[in-house]
Amino acid sequence: MGKYIKYEIKGSYRFVLGVLALVLILMTGIYLKGFDRLGIIGGLAGLAIVIGYIAEIYYIMDSFRKELYEDRGYLTFTLPLSGKQIIASKLVVSTLWILVIGFVTMGYFLILFRKDINIGQLEIGLLEEFLPQMIYYGIYMLVLGINTLILIYLSMALGRVTIRNKKLGGLWFLIFIVLSTFVQIGYNYVYQTFPHYLNLSSFNLINIDNGAGLTISSGSIYMNLATAIYTILIGIVSFFTTSYLVENKIDI
């Protein structure tokens, strides 16, 4: 699997570097315009980061679509690798690139706007209180992002095997919308039925009515335990189903 990860990285790093270069140039250009500090300029820089993410996610989706619909699948699916190894490798590399883009762009953002933000002037206590929560929040969002990716892979695999492996290009998107809707309905049902929340700073358990999967209240972030388990379960089921379809059902 490590070898496949290596070649996935080799095949995609140029695109990621290109996206990063574009986003950093955009951010620098926006910063140099400099007629307003953190307000409009910060917002535009944030928008550049979002554009970078959209480009990367499009690339990740397109890369899997090509495996299923184009000739490169003849190489990938005749390698002595299981479906699980192929899907897991793709997820590892996608997650790696999402983290790289996130860290580099956010790091550059902080460097550009360091005078305006001036971290040194922030109260140390405040930073200590919020930083761990922000890290947990980041992990939670990353898990949600990976889940969405697996759901996209599953939709593409289902799109490929539906109607006896006929190549219907846009079908996967329709399947993705339907699957996402069902997953979201389940998510809402779970946090409404099990309103037990974990305070991410004190790790105390409390009940919150009318919350959501993640709730911010009085300067603390609360995570619904049942939806966290539900999200992980959905990810695991989607992963194994996609791997099974890739290994046993898809005709190239």
């Binding site: 005749t78 002595p80 046993n248």
Partner: protein, 232 residues
């Protein structure tokens, strides 16, 4: 004699057609078998099932006594009828890729084959012509010491010079301990390679036998027999 491929009652259905209809076929170790038939006869479907790219609708397929899967992919060296390498690769990347994934890949043999084919390692895959692609793909596939080679139309669509090079490469690099399945409709160019031939028509086996025996019994070349069976 030990069998490398065992196929029983193999059927493959698509929405409106039956590509393979209850085929039974065993291939013994060490044999070169030609699967012959016109376009649409089911040759590529059969080969893609053996390579693990298609799933049968019915029937059993075993390679080296295993169901098609990760193990069989590690012992089968498959040449598809298209350019299957990743576009970002150079020829050197493709060599390293094969060397990383297949324990039976012989780098020295690959370098010799590329030299024989006049291919420069630094060329990018997306810069190659159809003939160069065919030569590169075949060099990679033949550089493995695989138990079973499967070549799908290895000389289709290439010029006569490239065709000769490819045929020479197959003859000079074929390992006698291995088995080889070759599909083609260019029978005249390839018939001397075959120990055995299988004529496939509309998803069923129309004729099968030892190439030499068929020539003797019918007083015809395999190419002439092919034309007779398929009415060309």
């Amino acid at each position: 004699m030990e069998k490398i491929v065992e196929i029983k009652g193999l059927t493959k259905r698509y929405i409106n057609t039956i590509a393979l209809n209850g085929i039974d076929l065993d291939i013994e170790k060490g044999r070169v078998v030609g699967i012959l038939g016109p376009n649409g006869s089911g040759k590529t479907t059969l080969i893609k099932i053996l390579a693990g790219l298609l799933r049968q609708s019915k029937g059993d397929v075993r390679i080296d006594s295993h169901n098609v899967g990760v193990y069989t992919k590690s012992i089968v060296s498959y040449l598809p009828d298209r350019n299957f390498l990743y576009n970002w690769m150079s020829i050197e990347d493709a060599l390293k890729f094969y060397s990383d994934f297949y324990k039976d890949f012989d780098m020295k043999r690959a370098e010799n084959l590329l030299e024989f084919m006049n291919l420069d390692n630094n060329l990018k895959v997306n810069q190659l012509s159809k003939g160069m692609h065919e030569k590169l793909n075949l060099s990679l596939v033949l550089s493995r010491k695989a138990k079973l080679y499967i070549l799908d139309e290895p000389i289709a669509g290439v010029d006569p010079v490239a065709r000769d090079k490819i045929l020479d490469a197959i003859i000079n690099n074929y390992n006698e301990d291995s088995s080889m399945i070759i599909t083609t409709h260019l029978v005249r160019d390839m018939e001397n390679l075959f120990d055995e031939v299988v004529f496939l028509k509309e998803g069923t086996i129309k004729l099968r036998g030892e190439a030499e025996k068929l020539r003797e019994e019918n007083g015809k070349s395999i190419d002439e027999l092919y034309k007779e069976v398929f009415g060309e």
